[in-house]
């Protein structure tokens, strides 16, 4: 039972942080209200009225998310390697460099083809 205490502590910390942020924001921020500020925020997309055809999400959001996932996974693979790279020697270094290069090729492609442009 007691081994789970750190988890509870973390839980409390997270919850407290969230509560604190909201209260502090509403207390210390300026009080100017307009209609726009009451709308739900959807990264710039108007939720209503729905355009004809159901409305399309601009694909750039999807692209950003996909790229994020890919590089995030790369980072995840980098973590254990970073921890154990001393033990893996030259072979490990070469392997990881190859891995990074492969993902880098994808990055280069995206960059050159304008995938990183927001608009």
């Amino acid at each position: 039972m007691f081994s789970y205490v750190p988890i509870f502590a973390l839980f409390l910390l997270a919850g407290g942080f969230a509560v604190f942020s909201i209260i502090a924001g509403s207390l210390t921020g300026p009080k100017r209200y307009n209609r726009a500020k009451y709308d739900a925020y959807e990264c710039g997309i108007e939720p209503t009225p729905q355009p004809v055809g159901g409305g399309r999400f601009p694909v750039k959001y999807y692209l950003t998310a996909m790229l994020f996932i890919v590089f995030d996974i790369e980072i995840i693979f980098l973590y254990p390697w970073a921890v154990a790279y001393a033990d893996m020697g030259v072979f490990g270094l070469v392997e990881m460099v190859l891995f990074i290069v492969t993902v880098f090729i994808a990055y280069v492609y995206v960059w050159r083809r304008g995938g990183l442009e927001w608009d």
């Binding site: 893996m88 490990g92 090729i105 050159r112 083809r113």
Partner: protein
């Protein structure tokens, strides 16, 4: 390298020893994969004007080099390489060679720009169909040349899939082979909505089946404590636990493999995807994925789950019969050539499954031979489908094919040759393929399957011959489609298909012996 590693090991007592990788054995796959990566860089850096040519040359060179590497590897001893993750044995070499040869043919079709106004691939995939942007892209002569690296990735996956000796690597290969194909299916230039619909269907159902594979993988791992085929096989013999876990896992993995090779009841995607995809990609899929999937199926079921053969064989009987019947009967009323060929490929998958149901050595070699014969006749057939065009692209409806024999006897005659080969008539390779497969099935005790197979062959022969009769016996419509003369690349692909079909029909013994020497799978 080893000296360095030794030095390193001496210095650090916790050193993890470097794994031993036999580069030469996996060189073909590395070549193709490398070509694919370079292709992506070409996409990034080469100016648009030169892109198509550079990609074509690069891809062809890569495939040819890989084929040379495969042939060079035939002298190597048969063993498990890369820490038993990859099996470098006879069937691997045979199948990889076959896939590379078929891919060269498919690549020639993909690269050909001379048919119709431009290639069969979309000008700019990001354009919505029917918009002004699309028209502007077409006018500008754009072309989505990413098809080449995508196809190369698919080929790399196809080569790895039957060679993989553990389930995780097989899954990775499955995904590597499938994802580019999902994309490629959506990249047709004409009838884009149909093409995109095909891509989405393929993707959804493919993801569904990949999920089954992973689930099955997990269950099998839970039972066998290893993902390697050899270890799974030994765990089957030695374990005294209840085997329902591995049975369900085996079923799920089998289902995923059956999806890839259009086995009933997982064939639903085949007609829609074959019809919607650009025809060079259909050729590529029909030939390459079937070969890779059957190779993997054989390896998984004969090596890993061979001990359970008595359990899965009756189910395979049922699936084989259902596949042959569906492929044969549903093809009868088809009016679109590509759909008809899709149902025919389902029927062929059924025929191969009959040999698969008999787990003998002869069945392995007969399946390999059948795959070679089937792959080339399909590439050739789809190549000719590409050539029948009218004002707005390919004319795929059978009613437009009436009388084509009068307009262009040569192309119609070649198509008739491929249809006869699919029907299994002499003197084509299809006859010997069917003979080998049915004989192996019969000798392995699957007599009823052979009977169903022969009957299904008769029904499929009906719709093949119907097309031939349609082409030759009636007058063509005045404003009907024409048969375009193929460009050099497509002509080469067609010639390859014809050559293999006829040569294997007249002297099949060489390839039959080759297949026979290749098996058995390394346990």
């Amino acid at each position: 390298m080893r000296l360095l590693a030794a030095f390193h090991a001496a210095a650090n007592p916790n050193a993890i020893p470097a794994p031993h990788i036999e580069y030469r054995a996996i060189l073909p796959m590395l070549i193709v994969f490398g070509v694919a990566c370079v292709g992506v860089l070409v996409e990034a850096f080469v100016p648009r004007v030169h892109r198509a040519v550079t990609q074509t040359v690069l891809a062809l060179a890569g495939l040819v080099a890989a084929l040379v590497a495969v042939v060079a590897n035939t002298g190597l001893p048969r063993r498990l390489v890369v820490q038993s993750a990859v099996a470098a044995d006879g069937p691997t070499l045979f199948i990889q060679g076959t896939i590379l040869a078929l891919s060269i043919g498919a690549l020639l079709l993909i690269a050909d720009r001379s048919i119709g106004a431009d290639s069969d691939f979309v000008a700019q995939a990001a354009d919505l169909p029917g918009t002004e942007q699309e028209r502007a892209s077409v006018r500008a002569g754009l072309r989505q040349t990413e098809v080449f690296p995508l196809a190369m990735f698919a080929v790399a996956g196809m080569m790895l899939f039957p060679a993989a000796n553990d389930l995780v690597l097989a899954f990775v290969a499955l995904e590597v082979l499938s994802l580019p194909l999902y994309l490629l299916a959506g990249m047709a230039r004409r009838r884009r909505l149909l093409s995109q619909e095909a891509a989405v269907k393929y993707f959804l159902l493919g993801a569904f089946s990949s999920a089954f594979f992973v689930y099955g993988l997990a269950l099998v791992y839970g039972y066998a404590k290893s993902v390697e085929y050899g270890d799974i096989a030994t765990s089957l013999t030695s374990s005294d636990r209840g085997d329902s876990l591995v049975i369900v896992g085996l079923a799920l993995i089998g289902i995923s493999l059956l999806f890839k090779l259009s086995g009933v009841p997982f064939h639903w995607w085949t007609p829609d995807v074959y019809q919607g995809a650009p025809t060079p990609i259909t050729a590529f899929m029909a030939a390459g994925t079937k070969v890779a999937a059957f190779g993997a199926l054989l390896r998984v079921f004969f090596v890993a789950f061979g001990g359970l053969a008595w359990d899965w064989r009756p189910v395979v009987w049922g699936v084989a019969i259902a596949t042959m019947v569906v492929g044969a009967i549903l093809g009868v009323t088809q009016t679109d050539v590509k759909r008809l060929l899709a149902y025919s490929s389902i029927a062929h998958a059924g025929f191969i499954l009959t040999a698969f149901a008999a787990t003998t050595r002869a069945s392995e070699s007969s399946v390999l031979f059948y795959l070679v014969a089937y792959g080339f006749m399909n590439i050739g057939a789809f190549a000719i489908v590409m050539l029948v065009r009218d004002a707005d692209g390919e004319a795929n409806h059978l009613s437009r094919w009436v009388g084509l024999g009068r307009r262009s006897p040569l192309m119609a005659g070649i198509f008739a040759l491929f249809l006869l080969a699919m029907a299994g008539l002499p003197p084509t390779s299809g006859l010997w393929a069917k003979v080998a497969v049915f004989q192996a099935a019969y000798q392995g005790g699957a007599g009823p399957l052979v009977i169903v197979g022969v009957l299904a062959s008769a029904v499929t022969a009906y719709y093949y011959l119907r097309i031939i009769v349609l082409m030759f016996s009636q007058e063509p419509a005045v404003e009907g489609p024409t048969v375009v003369m193929p460009g050099a690349l497509s002509a080469a692909a067609i010639a390859l298909g014809v050559a293999v079909t006829i040569v294997l029909g007249v002297v099949p013994q060489t390839v039959l012996d080759l297949a026979d020497k290749a098996v058995p799978f390394l346990r």
